[in-house]
C-alpha cells in the first residue's frame, strides 16, 4: 500500500465518507501504520479542543427579554406595508391607463382635424363626439379621404395637421416609455438589492 489516504482522513474521521471511498480508506487503514497514527492524532486533537470550557452565560429567557428591549422599531407593521405594495403596483397600471386614454383622445382629435381639413365636419363631428364607436361614419370619412386626395393644397394642409398631431403623440409615447422604464428599473433595483449578510472570506 503505497498511496496514503491522508487527504481523506478528515472526512473519514468526521463520518462523511460513503461507498467506494469509504471502503478504500478502510482497506488502506487496515494495512498502514502511518495513516492509522494520523487518524489517531485527529481524535486526540478533537479531545484537546473539547477541553476548552464554555464560560457562564445568562439564561436564554433573560437574554431573550434583554434583546427584546433592544430591538429597533424599524420594522414596518404589515398593513401599511401591503398598502404601500398596492400603491406601488398601481404605478405601472396608472401609466398604462393614462397612455390608453390620452392616445385614444389624440387619435380621435386627429381624425376629426383631418376630416375638418377636408371640409367633412358638419354633422360627423357632433355625431363622433356623442358616439365615438360609430364605425359607419368612420368609413364614410375614409372614403371621402380617397376621393379628395388628389388636390395638392389639401395634401399640404393635411400633412401639416398630421405633424401637428404627431409631435405631441410622439412626446407622449416617449414619456410613457421613460416613466415605465424608470418604474421597472426601480423595481429591479429593489429586488436585486435585498439585504444579505456577507460571507466569511477566505
Amino acid at each position: 500500500m503505497s498511496n496514503h489516504v491522508i487527504e481523506w482522513l478528515n472526512a473519514y474521521f468526521d463520518g462523511e465518507l460513503q461507498g467506494y471511498r469509504l471502503h478504500q480508506v478502510e482497506a488502506h487503514l487496515a494495512g498502514c501504520e502511518a495513516c492509522r497514527a494520523e487518524l489517531e492524532s485527529l481524535g486526540k486533537l478533537s479531545g484537546l479542543l473539547h477541553e476548552v470550557p464554555l464560560p457562564d452565560f445568562p439564561s436564554p429567557e433573560r437574554f431573550a427579554s434583554q434583546i427584546n428591549l433592544l430591538l429597533p422599531q424599524k420594522r414596518t407593521p404589515p398593513p401599511r406595508r401591503s398598502l404601500f405594495e398596492v400603491g406601488w403596483w398601481m404605478i405601472p397600471v396608472g401609466i398604462m391607463a393614462v397612455w390608453v386614454f390620452v392616445s385614444t383622445a389624440l387619435l380621435l382629435s386627429n381624425v376629426v382635424s383631418v376630416a375638418d381639413s377636408f371640409g367633412l365636419l358638419g354633422t360627423t363631428t357632433s355625431s363622433w363626439i356623442s358616439s365615438p364607436a360609430e364605425t359607419a361614419d368612420l368609413t364614410a370619412v375614409l372614403g371621402g379621404f380617397g376621393v379628395l386626395g388628389g388636390d395638392s393644397l389639401q395634401w399640404a394642409e393635411r400633412t401639416e395637421s398630421l405633424t401637428r398631431s404627431m409631435v405631441p403623440q410622439f412626446v407622449l409615447q416617449v414619456s410613457v416609455a421613460v416613466l415605465y422604464l424608470a418604474w421597472f428599473a426601480t423595481w429591479l433595483a429593489r429586488h436585486t438589492r435585498q439585504p444579505r449578510e456577507g460571507l466569511i472570506e477566505g
Binding site: A11, L48, V52, P60, S65, L70, P195, R196, G198, G202
Partner: protein
C-alpha cells in the same frame, strides 16, 4: 419529532417577519445558546461573545424579510453571528495576534509542572484556535463544537463543500503543528 419543532419554528418565523416581537423573542430563546457558543469559540472572549450575540439577533430582526426558509434558521443565524463576531473583534481589537510560540513547550520532554497545569493547557489550545485564519476557524468551530455535517457547514457559511473540506484539513493541520507537544503529553498521560 423534528417536524413538530420545525413547524412551530416556521410559524414563529412567519409571525416575526410580520413584526411580532414576542414570536421573535421565542426564536431568540431557542437559538441564543448556540449562537453564543459559536461566537465564543470564534473569538475566545465571553464579553465580546455576549455583545456579538446581541448584535446577531438585532441584525437578524432587521433582515428577517430576507430570510428564506430553504436555509435552516440556525445556519442563517450562525452566518450572521460569525460576521457580527468578527466585526466586534475588529472593533475591540482585543484579540491578541497570538504569540503562541511563547506559550509553546520548548522541550521535547514536558516538565511535570507543565503537565499539572490544566489552565495553561486550555489557554494554549484556545490561543491555537484563535491563531487560525478566520475562514478556517469558522469551519473548525462548526465541525468540532457544533457537530455539524460538511453540508450544513457549507450552507451556514455559504461556501462550496470542497472548500469546507480543504479549510477543515488546513485548520487541523495547523492546530496539530502548534499543539503537537500537547498531543504527545495527553498520549503519555494516558499510557502512564
Amino acid at each position: 419529532m423534528v417536524t413538530v419543532q420545525a413547524v412551530s419554528e416556521a410559524k414563529l418565523i412567519i409571525s416575526s417577519q410580520s413584526g411580532d416581537r414576542s414570536a421573535f423573542s421565542e426564536l431568540v430563546r431557542l437559538h441564543t445558546r448556540g449562537v453564543f457558543n459559536v461566537v465564543y469559540r470564534m473569538c475566545g472572549d465571553a464579553l465580546i461573545a455576549e455583545d456579538a450575540t446581541q448584535e446577531t439577533f438585532i441584525r437578524a430582526w432587521q433582515n428577517l424579510s430576507s430570510y428564506r426558509p430553504q436555509t435552516s434558521l440556525r445556519n442563517w443565524l450562525y452566518r450572521i453571528a460569525f460576521n457580527a463576531g468578527m466585526d466586534m473583534l475588529r472593533k475591540e481589537k482585543r484579540i491578541l495576534p497570538t504569540d503562541i510560540e511563547d506559550l509553546q513547550l520548548k522541550d521535547d520532554q514536558p516538565s511535570p509542572e507543565s503537565l499539572a497545569s490544566q489552565n495553561e493547557r486550555t489557554a494554549l489550545v484556545q490561543k491555537a484556535i484563535l491563531s487560525l485564519p478566520d475562514a478556517s476557524r469558522a469551519v473548525l468551530v462548526l465541525k468540532e463544537y457544533e457537530g455539524m455535517s460538511y453540508r450544513e457547514i457549507a450552507e451556514a457559511l455559504d461556501i462550496p463543500l470542497g472548500t469546507v473540506m480543504s479549510r477543515l484539513n488546513y485548520a487541523r493541520k495547523l492546530l496539530k503543528e502548534k499543539l503537537e507537544p500537547k498531543l504527545f503529553v495527553s498520549m503519555e498521560v494516558e499510557h502512564v
